[in-house]
Amino acid sequence: MDAAHECFMQLLEEHRNILYKVSSAYCANAEDRRDLIQEMVIQLWRSFDRFDSSYRFSTWMYRIALNVAISFYRSERRRSGRSVSLEASLLELAAPEPESDDVQLLRQFIGELEPLNKALMLLYLDGYSYEEIGEMLGISASNGATKLSRLKQRLRLQFQEHYQDYQS
């Protein structure tokens, strides 16, 4: 194992939550999530020699992870009815703290969004600026802001409907 491997593993370890968030947003099925995480890691490693360390690793990682996830989402068929593989996952979730109802709902609603809107919302929730989001997604900052405003409105409505249904 050389220094590049070690450095890559260290950085990946520090930003492992990106792998989890992206895979959860794009795959409902645990098997698909495991495969997607592997795809993202392989692609990250293959691109690692082109990583410019003057930029944030998380930004670089997010862009690759999102590109892989959308391509994966577009090409992989649903796995329902297929046998379950026993291969271990690169990322394991040990005794997670329960999410609040709102975060859980938000995750569910994000999962239902269109692939590019999912990316937009994930980046927004992670605290990236409109400029950074625009650069990562290939749109202008003002376009990103407009789209986010609409998305937030759409999600607000979904929350409202959910709580109205819950109360009735």
């Binding site: 194992m1 491997h5 593993m9 990946l12 370890e13 939550n17 989890y20 968030k21 495969d35 592997q38 795809e39 890691v41 392989i42 490693w45 293959r46 691109s47 082109r50 862009r63 690759i64 999102l66 590109n67 892989v68 959308i70 391509s71 577009r74 090409s75 992989e76 068929r77 649903r78 329902s80 009815g81 271990a88 996952s89 690169l90 990322l91 394991e92 979730l93 040990a94 005794a95 997670p96 703290e97 609040s100 709102d102 975060v103 938000l106 269109e114 692939p115 590019l116 927004y124 929730l125 605290g127 990562m136 997604l137 290939g138 749109i139 202008s140 003002s142 407009t146 937030k152 999600l155």
Partner: protein
């Protein structure tokens, strides 16, 4: 529902999530050392195989055309397949070039649009390959009989029989299209069967065109 509050909750949970997540370093090390292929690399290998197969077919058909030059009843069916294979090769080469040029570190919408354009083209070729197969098998029969057995299909089977087969193939095309629409979503237990069904009923073309439109809309400022 205040979105800023929701965002704060999301980020707070994110902190806890990071603590609960464990990267399987041993497995990761094994994968990195073993240089495990990505799905993209496997797909690329499949395309190279397809291209190799097409090149061999193209050369064999070229040789057949040159051997039977002047005998148009053999040359024409071979030319039909020749053209068909050239179209397929062009699409495969274009896809290979795109795959080679893919930089996953590029802006998401730009990259996805590029990939989807090639996917749409591929879906079109697959749709028409499967759809025209009932008609295209007649030229194969003519070429195959001549090439492998040295027989003239027109003389052995008779031109009316060949024409009847061609007509039957034409009639079969709408039947196959209707059947593929009826069977849509019923072959999920056999993914490759479902994939062929979706090729024929145009599901892959529609999905690729829809996503391409989605990416273009996303890029547009409005």
């Amino acid at each position: 529902m205040e979105f800023d509050m929701l965002k704060a909750q999301w980020q707070a949970y994110d902190q806890k999530l990071t603590e609960s997540l464990r990267l399987n370093r041993r497995l990761l090390r094994d994968k990195l050392v073993a240089k495990v292929d990505s799905a993209l690399q496997r797909h690329e290998r499949g395309l190279w195989l397809e291209l190799g197969f097409d090149v061999v077919l193209l050369l064999l058909l070229g040789s057949f055309i040159s051997d039977t030059w002047g005998e148009w009843r053999f040359v024409l069916p071979a030319l039909v397949w020749h053209i068909f294979i050239i179209i397929s090769m062009v699409v495969t080469i274009r896809e290979l070039v795109t795959l080679r040029e893919i930089d996953y570190n590029g802006p998401v919408a730009t990259l996805q649009k590029r990939v989807e354009q090639v996917r749409l083209l591929h879906a079109w070729v697959n749709k028409w390959t499967w759809t025209l197969l009932p008609v295209l098998w007649v030229p194969i029969l003519i070429i195959g009989m001549r090439w492998l057995l040295g027989l003239d299909a027109y003389a052995v089977l008779g031109t009316p029989t060949l024409l009847a087969n061609l007509a039957f193939g034409l009639v079969l095309i709408p039947v196959i299209v209707v059947a593929s629409r009826t069977l849509a979503g019923r072959g999920e237990q056999w993914p490759w069967v479902q994939s062929i069904i979706d090729d024929v009923n145009g599901e892959h073309v529609v999905a690729a065109a829809r996503f391409l439109r989605e990416v273009r809309d996303f890029e547009e400022e409005r």
